[in-house]
């Protein structure tokens, strides 16, 4: 039942966990962590946006730039409700990703599941000869 592997914890403590490297050093609370993967025919952007509703997330594509914005109501804090620890990201986060010129933004789709937004943007096929062909008249 005890799923915690003590060696994992040691590794984490030492900061040797894969992918922990860059991110552990400094973090901006107003952005989201993203993966950007380029496949042959599509660009896939995945963003960690835990704790949002679908309608609180805004995805916009404008001139080869994809902007992801999410905003939720601020958590209240008063005399009866005290934060002993507050590390989770802000109520409002935005992140912008540059897309290649071949991106077909009109055909982009987005899904939100388990706090992860996945935006898929199809790419136009690049000519097999890897260049722009100029017709000779």
């Amino acid at each position: 039942m005890d799923a915690t592997n003590p060696f994992d914890e040691i590794e984490q403590l030492l900061g040797r966990t894969p992918f922990a490297g860059e991110r552990a050093w400094g973090r901006d609370l107003r952005t989201a962590d993203i993966d950007v993967a380029e496949y042959d025919d599509e660009y896939v952007v995945m963003a960690d946006l835990p704790g949002f509703d679908r309608d609180e997330i805004d995805v916009r594509a404008l001139e080869d730039r994809l902007t992801i914005a999410a905003e939720r109501a601020a958590e209240r804090e008063d005399a009866d409700r005290r934060y002993l620890r507050r590390e989770r990201r802000h109520e409002s986060v935005t992140r912008t990703v540059d897309l290649p010129a071949t991106a077909r933004l009109d055909d982009a789709t987005a899904t939100y599941r388990h706090g992860v937004l996945t935006v898929t943007v199809p790419l136009d096929a690049v000519d097999a000869d890897e260049g722009h062909r100029i017709d000779v008249n």
Binding site: A3, T4, P6, D8, E9, I10, E11, Q12, L13, L14, G15, R16, T17, P18, F19, A20, G21, R23, A24, W25, G26, R27, D33, I34, D35, V36, A37, E38, Y39, D40, D41, V44, M46, D48, L49, P50, G51, F52, D53, E75, D80, R81, R82, Y83, L84, R85, R86, E87, R88, V97, D107, T109, T111, R113, H114, G115, V116, T118, T120, P122
Partner: protein
């Protein structure tokens, strides 16, 4: 419960170290996002909120299923673990694609092509900031709580654990009737 295995000792050691690191992290935290954090100290971001009756712990675990998340109250700390199999990295990706044809213009051929692309090594990551591996976090709970009455829910990648506070009078443990 009194069973002692070497890993317990390692855990104790880690907890002591963790407390010190947390103190360190706590002092760095206030100074702004540019300040380096201790590596690995923030595997799961948590909020801990206290009101008169409860202590609530909120933990960001984006991309995990409720089944992947394990919560355990050990002594005076809440241990949160999220674990996935290695292949989930790609399963997540494919999950996205699987949803696609329904919303797409129904270009089935296109969807097939993209799945092929996933299976091949033909992928370039331009950014890779998200965590895929298993994560865990030990959150010290300040003050006694009713472990049996604790509740947990998981929604949109956020785990919420509500721990009712135990009144100080029954802090001593079980009351045994004297007859």
């Amino acid at each position: 419960m009194t069973r002692r295995d070497p890993f317990d000792e390692i855990e104790d050691l880690l907890e002591r170290m963790g407390r010190e690191f947390e103190e360190l992290g706590g002092t760095l935290e206030g100074t702004g996002p540019e300040v380096p954090r201790f590596p690995g100290a923030r595997d799961v971001d948590v909020d801990v909120v206290e009101d008169d009756e409860t202590i609530t712990v909120l933990a960001d675990l984006p991309g995990f299923d409720a089944d992947d998340v394990d919560v355990e109250l050990r002594d005076d700390a809440l241990v949160i673990t999220g674990s996935r199999e290695e292949s989930t990295e790609f399963a997540v990706d494919e999950g996205g694609h699987a949803d696609e044809p329904a919303e797409d213009e129904g270009d089935a051929a296109d969807a097939d092509d993209s799945e092929d692309a996933d299976d091949s090594d033909d992928v370039r990551y331009h950014r890779r900031e998200r965590r895929f591996s298993s994560v865990s976090r030990r959150v010290p709970i300040p003050g006694p709580v009713e472990a049996d009455a604790a509740t947990a829910s998981f929604d949109a990648g956020v785990l919420t654990v509500t721990l009712p506070k135990r009144s100080p009078d029954d802090d001593r443990g079980h009351t045994i009737d004297v007859s």
